[in-house]
């Protein structure tokens, strides 16, 4: 009787085991979750709904982001214009440098908290984070490359063959996987650890000047640069004098709607002390100039000027100084120095020995 039992058991085991013979070994992915800071709204779009965030996808995306081969001559990786130390904007440049000594048409914005952005670009022309890289990659003034050539370069590199296999089940190197991996990297870049955030969490205190500045901010700026993201993601005309040498109709170039003339996306003020210069064309090289614009520079004759700016903002000299001190608290050192967002294999310089 026991023998029969054993034989039956063995048979069942063999039958069951055979079910697994033709199955490939399971493809292991390390799933990650986007962190949603306390008190923040839910992300505007669930950017990882159809692109599950994984460590493997993130690592591939980071390599792509820092790889010059995504550009025609190898000199212009994404990170060329989106520098970590400048909160992923181009530090100190009104326009960024591109292929063949070209300049871009607009100022490179910082990249962080992208899951909370509905549209990309100053004019909101890009409707999904995954397809954003297509614009700089193919623009003749930026990376000037074509998709087939980029994919060819990736396919010839065994490191990429390995990374695509790790990140995606079928391991295929195609534009979809490349773009999804890039979105996993850029969508993971978050900024929520500035001094402002720490004060809000009760871990730090504002100075008297910062506190006064915060009050002025809430009074004069918060309606468009809304906490905690410091933007309401709307498109507005803030009354910049039109640059006749660089005509740019802004949002209207996307919608075709005359009511959108000269409207641009309200940028986040997070890390603004490091995303110098300012405005869509980078025309202002200091935060003081920006405040001055709202005090006395608004071109009130413009038809599409934002209703909130019809009257110039009244900010005294002392208030300007306090407002500036507050704006400096929005700088997030963690974002600027997080080695996770640094180039692959980046080794942190050893701390200086003090004698």
């Amino acid at each position: 009787m026991l023998k029969i039992k054993i034989i039956i058991s063995l048979l069942i085991i063999v039958v069951m085991a055979s079910a697994f013979i033709y199955n490939e070994p399971p493809h292991k992915l390390t799933y990650l979750k986007l962190f949603i800071p306390r008190g923040w709204p839910r992300p505007t779009t669930n950017i990882f709904a159809t692109n599950p965030l994984t460590e493997e996808g993130f690592v591939l995306g980071r390599k792509l982001f820092y790889d010059g081969r995504l550009s025609k001559d190898g000199n212009f990786p994404c990170s060329g214009c989106h520098q970590q130390f400048a909160a992923f904007s181009t530090y100190g440049h009104d326009f960024s440098h591109g292929f063949n000594n070209n300049l871009t048409k607009r100022n490179a914005p910082g990249l962080f908290n992208l899951a909370w952005q509905k549209e990309m670009h100053w004019d909101g022309g890009i409707n999904h984070i995954e397809i954003q890289p297509l614009a700089p990659l193919t623009d003749l003034k930026e990376m000037a490359e074509t998709l087939p050539r980029v994919l060819q370069k990736l396919k010839e590199d065994t490191a990429y063959v390995r990374l695509f296999k790790a990140a995606f089940k079928d391991g295929v190197i195609n534009s979809q996987h490349m773009l999804k991996a890039l979105a996993q990297f850029t969508g993971s870049i978050q900024s929520y650890n500035s001094r402002y955030d720490k004060v809000k969490r009760g871990e730090d205190n504002f100075t008297v000047s910062e506190k006064l500045g915060y009050k002025i901010f809430l009074d004069k700026c918060n309606s468009c640069h809304k906490e905690p993201l410091f933007t309401d993601n709307s498109f507005r005309n803030n009354g910049l004098i039109v640059n006749s040498k660089l005509p740019d109709s802004g949002r209207m170039s996307i919608t075709g709607n005359l009511a959108d003339l000269y409207k641009f996306k309200v940028p986040s003020l997070r890390n603004c002390s490091i995303t110098i210069p300012y405005m869509h064309d980078g025309r202002m090289f200091s935060l003081s100039k920006v405040i001055d614009h709202y005090r006395k520079g608004i071109d009130t004759a413009q038809v599409t000027l934002d209703t909130l700016l019809k009257k110039r903002l009244i900010i005294s000299e002392q208030e300007r100084i306090d407002l500036l001190s507050f704006l400096y608290t929005l700088r997030d050192e963690d974002l600027l120095k997080d080695t996770r967002f640094a180039p692959p294999n980046y080794i942190q310089p050893a701390a200086k020995q003090e004698h």
Partner: protein, 254 residues
């Protein structure tokens, strides 16, 4: 003993799953194949890229060096309004690539009276991020500066065009609002498409007369509007026009 019962149960489940799987496959097999083919013409003269010389109703002569358009959300419908919709239905018809000018799918058996499809890519797929196959941006049918698919592309030359190199360039797109260029075409199938035999493929040949681009609904002249590369009223008008270019040439029952 307990172990045996457990193993027995697992075995039972595996058998069940296999049976279910087989049943699904049997159901799939019962579906009947259908092939849809496209023949592009200008006034019944087949389009030959780079060489043909054509004339529109305004007596403007032109040639064509690129012709691509999207066909999506393909459906067949019976007289009783029973619908057989192709799954994941996105096709790029590219005149240069003869393999792209036909596609096949399977439909449940029936006598179908109507063929319908969207010219272009539905709005949802225009806002859903990076795609692949027919929807791969690699196909050069995706705008990188104003997200969205180019639904219909015709490029060529005409002496009537005053722009550089006498170009004609119609890149028709825009998926939202009043200026959406998405057009659903419903074509009546004369004598029906009878899909009953799962072992033979019925073919519907769709024929276009693309000269309609210049006059089917709105009067457009190459001399006035040789270029249209942004969403807007002109693009929507061109879409109105080319949506009238499609008709069923014949149905081939094997």
């Amino acid at each position: 003993m307990k172990v045996n019962v457990l193993l027995g149960l697992v075995f039972f489940f595996i058998t069940c799953l296999n049976t279910l799987n087989a049943a699904c496959q049997a159901n799939n097999q019962a579906n009947v194949p259908i092939k849809i083919s496209f023949i592009n013409t200008i006034n019944n003269i087949p389009v030959v890229l780079d060489s043909g010389n054509y004339t529109n109703c305004w007596n403007e002569t032109f040639n064509i060096n690129a012709l691509k358009y999207y066909i999506s959300n393909v459906q067949l419908q019976t007289a009783e309004k029973k619908i057989a919709a192709e799954k994941n239905s996105y096709h790029l018809i590219n005149e240069e690539d003869s393999a792209s000018k036909n596609f096949s799918f399977t439909a449940s058996p029936g006598i179908y009276k109507t063929l319908s499809f969207l010219i272009g890519i539905d709005s949802l797929m225009n806002v859903s991020g990076a795609q692949t196959n027919a929807l791969d941006p690699l196909n050069g049918m995706f705008w990188t500066w104003n997200s969205g698919y180019v639904m219909f592309k015709l490029e060529g030359y005409s002496a009537g065009s005053a722009v550089i190199k006498n170009k004609i360039e119609y890149h028709i797109g825009g998926f939202s609002g009043a200026n959406s260029v998405l057009r659903r075409v419903e074509l009546n199938i004369e004598n029906s498409a009878v899909l009953l035999d799962k072992n033979s493929t019925t073919e519907i040949i769709v024929h276009t007369n693309l000269s309609k681009i210049w006059n089917a609904v709105h009067e457009l002249k190459i001399s006035k509007t040789p270029i249209c590369t942004t969403p807007g009223i002109l693009a929507a008008g061109i879409a109105d026009n080319y949506s009238k270019a499609f008709e069923i040439l014949k149905v081939i029952h094997p």
